[in-house]
Assembly symmetry: C2
Homo-oligomer: 422 residues x 2
């Protein structure tokens, strides 16, 4: 520790994009003791050069220049599985510690990379991979290691939260998505965000750290927010709720329940308060009760704070407390109330038939809501069902999908708290 503090830790940035350039900027501005930026790597690096970094920094487009140099810590900020995964592996093999913001890589290969790091006596930190500038990972790993976490529930994708909270205020999905892209929040291809894949990768990392459960990314169901319409916010409001993209998981016996998607959230839940690109995580512990973290989950500077914090942890001789996780089965079979929105060409007997399809799966109807102002030609209405296994509901909905008066695919959303007001 004292050695590490005396000598400066040499750090290299891989990927000089949004996060990479923020990391360089903050390192140059705040000059934290004990670390020195030595390399910046990027393809076609010439167009990336800026004049505000120290003259001594080596700009390169050859990864070998970094991997063969006496660099102590590699900051992987390029993203994606390939070739970033390869660089991380080779850095660790060479005994260099790695700090990364790459949730995709850590969700897919974190356990193997962690093992590799330990076998080489070096560190792998990824505090920026979940919730960017909100210190969720150090909070869980260091601060809540003494608890037994049984439940996590969060808003882990700022883009979806921005879109949904704007829709809550009346914006249209397509229009607000465009705006989000113009503001630089969403990628040109927004699928990762809106389909829930980005949030799912983060949830899988949290499952490992908080619930100590190893889960394959593809085993967690993710539902897109694209089917949410203005009418759903209107119905949600009537129920004292709003709609958010929620990532949630809980332990049930030897299994883990986990899912990502748009859900109805009671307006008085902290999750409903989070607006704009804010991220929020609610952690339920067996001993400590509920803890909430919130703040800016994305953006160059907040994410860079997490990267630099990890770099400083390494420079100060700290290490991540890696409590062992174990492989478990995943199910999406939460026992919750559901919001089911159907759009039909109205005629007598529809309710009876739908109620029949639900009854076949032993699902009880809690309420039927129908807002005025629609024609019989295209009539949206909502069925709220009492808590039921998602799997039974899926079977009922498959049956309902065969009814010929349905004009649109049926939307089915979990209602986050059974006690949500109606």
């Amino acid at each position: 520790m004292s050695d590490a503090q005396a000598a400066k830790v040499r750090a290299a940035i891989l990927g000089f994009g949004t996060v990479g350039s923020s990391v360089a900027r903050i390192l140059c501005d705040s000059k934290p003791a004990g670390v020195e930026l030595t390399h910046i790597f990027n393809r076609n690096v010439a167009r990336k050069r800026v004049d505000w970094v120290s003259q001594s920094v080596i700009w390169t487009e050859a990864i070998e220049d970094v991997l063969s140099a006496p660099v102590d810590v590699v900051l992987e900020l390029a993203g994606g599985l390939d070739p970033a995964g390869d660089w991380v592996r080779r850095a660790l093999e060479a005994g260099k510690s790695v700090v990364t913001a790459n949730k995709k890589l850590i969700a897919e290969h974190g356990i193997a990379l962690d093992k590799l790091a330990r076998s080489k006596g070096c560190h792998l930190f990824y505090g920026a991979a979940v919730a960017g500038g909100v210190p969720v990972i150090p909070g869980l790993q260091q601060g809540l290691a003494g608890d037994r976490i049984t439940r996590i529930e969060g808003i882990l994708n700022g883009t979806c939260n921005f879109i949904l909270s704007k829709m809550e205020d009346g914006a249209d999905f397509a229009q607000i998505l465009k705006e989000t892209q113009a503001l630089g929040y969403a990628e040109a291809d927004p699928t990762e965000d809106v389909a829930g894949f980005d949030a799912r990768a983060k949830l899988v990392i949290l499952l490992r750290i908080a619930l100590r459960a190893d889960v394959a990314v593809s085993d967690v169901a993710a539902k897109s927010i694209t089917e949410i319409a203005a009418i759903d916010f209107a119905y949600a409001r009537e129920m004292g709720c709003t709609i958010r993209q929620i990532s949630r998981a809980e332990l049930r016996g030897d299994e883990v329940l986990a899912t990502v998607g748009p859900m109805l959230v009671p307006q008085d839940s902290p999750l409903a308060w989070s607006r704009g690109t804010e991220n929020m995580l609610l952690v339920g512990g067996a001993y400590g009760g509920d803890v909430v973290f919130s703040g800016h989950g994305a953006g160059g500077h907040p994410t860079a704070v997490a990267v630099i914090s990890d770099l400083l942890a390494i420079a100060h001789g700290s290490c991540a407390i890696g409590l062992p996780s174990k492989k478990v089965g995943v199910s999406g079979d939460f026992l919750l109330r559901h919001y089911i929105r159907l759009v039909v060409k109205d005629r007598p007997g529809i309710i009876a038939q739908i109620a029949g399809a639900l009854a076949e799966q032993e699902i009880n109807i809690h309420a039927i809501l129908q807002k005025p102002g629609h024609t019989k030609e295209s009539l949206p209405f909502v069925v709220i069902v009492e808590p039921c296994p998602s799997s039974a509901l899926r079977r009922a909905l498959a049956r309902i999908a065969t009814f010929d008066y349905l004009l649109e695919p049926t939307l089915d959303l979990q209602i986050l708290e059974p006690e949500a007001g109606l």
Copy 2:
């Protein structure tokens, strides 16, 4: 690191009270890998014995039994400056690491104890000293080390928050204080809590960790919540606010502004949402923006989670990132709007005279509020003044205190956000 992981870390509990017994209980229930409870020390230990701890644990009332044993980590959970400070010093001198929940000790002597720990190559962790089960200290030390924190604002005393949020719902101070004591939240002597001394000790610790500012505890002004009455909640509500005990600090040039006391908080601020014994901390960073932490700040089990998390950090070879702090001057001179509640025997000319006393100090009146339903014999009313230095206001209030129509000492509260609705 790997050595520490292989051999079990031997831990001793000093003080088998609320927190100490929770720590023992969780260690016995969850049996975390890598740690072993070897001693429990308490005065008159016979009456403390329980049958659910391992037979191998040594119960003792002689501190030497612990200090001379091959114990690796001492968990100091007795509290107070004396003799706990002495035990901590002697444990560190003997090369034992220390985990403590003792905010008083860390606020007063943390810097010296930290230095001693480093000089002996051992660790001093105190994650439980602030906000109990909410991982504020690891979040700041590990997760936000890369930011430059400029502002902290929080609810750090669960007892005061419980009392004030019950008063918001209509309870009377004296009655609710009794209830709080019966529930075990408040001590028999509640002065530490209600006068703000407990919160102040925590604020001083956060000043050191977050703002890297060394401040003497007695240099921070603390105001009691005892003068808050039902009428103040009524006026606050009219202003779109409520009242909470707030601990806050911010950097201003080379100085630090810091204070603890009841304040008006806008109802739409996260600080107003915190009810019951909940703690909450809002941290403002130059790069990462605002981050909020909340959860159970006190109670045996939540506090024990923080203690055990620190113990596990030591067992896993982690260390606290102790970024250097420096001695700075403290001022309470926030530039904020104030709520001033006066109770007078009414007669003509009072407003003119009070306005005059304020004008002498160049303080502008923003509004005067007077709720109906009071007699001229004892008339409460409220003056809201525009943002002004607390010191100028103090001078004006000293002058006002000499006016003979005042029936009660004047109550003066900061209004937390300048933009608070009126």
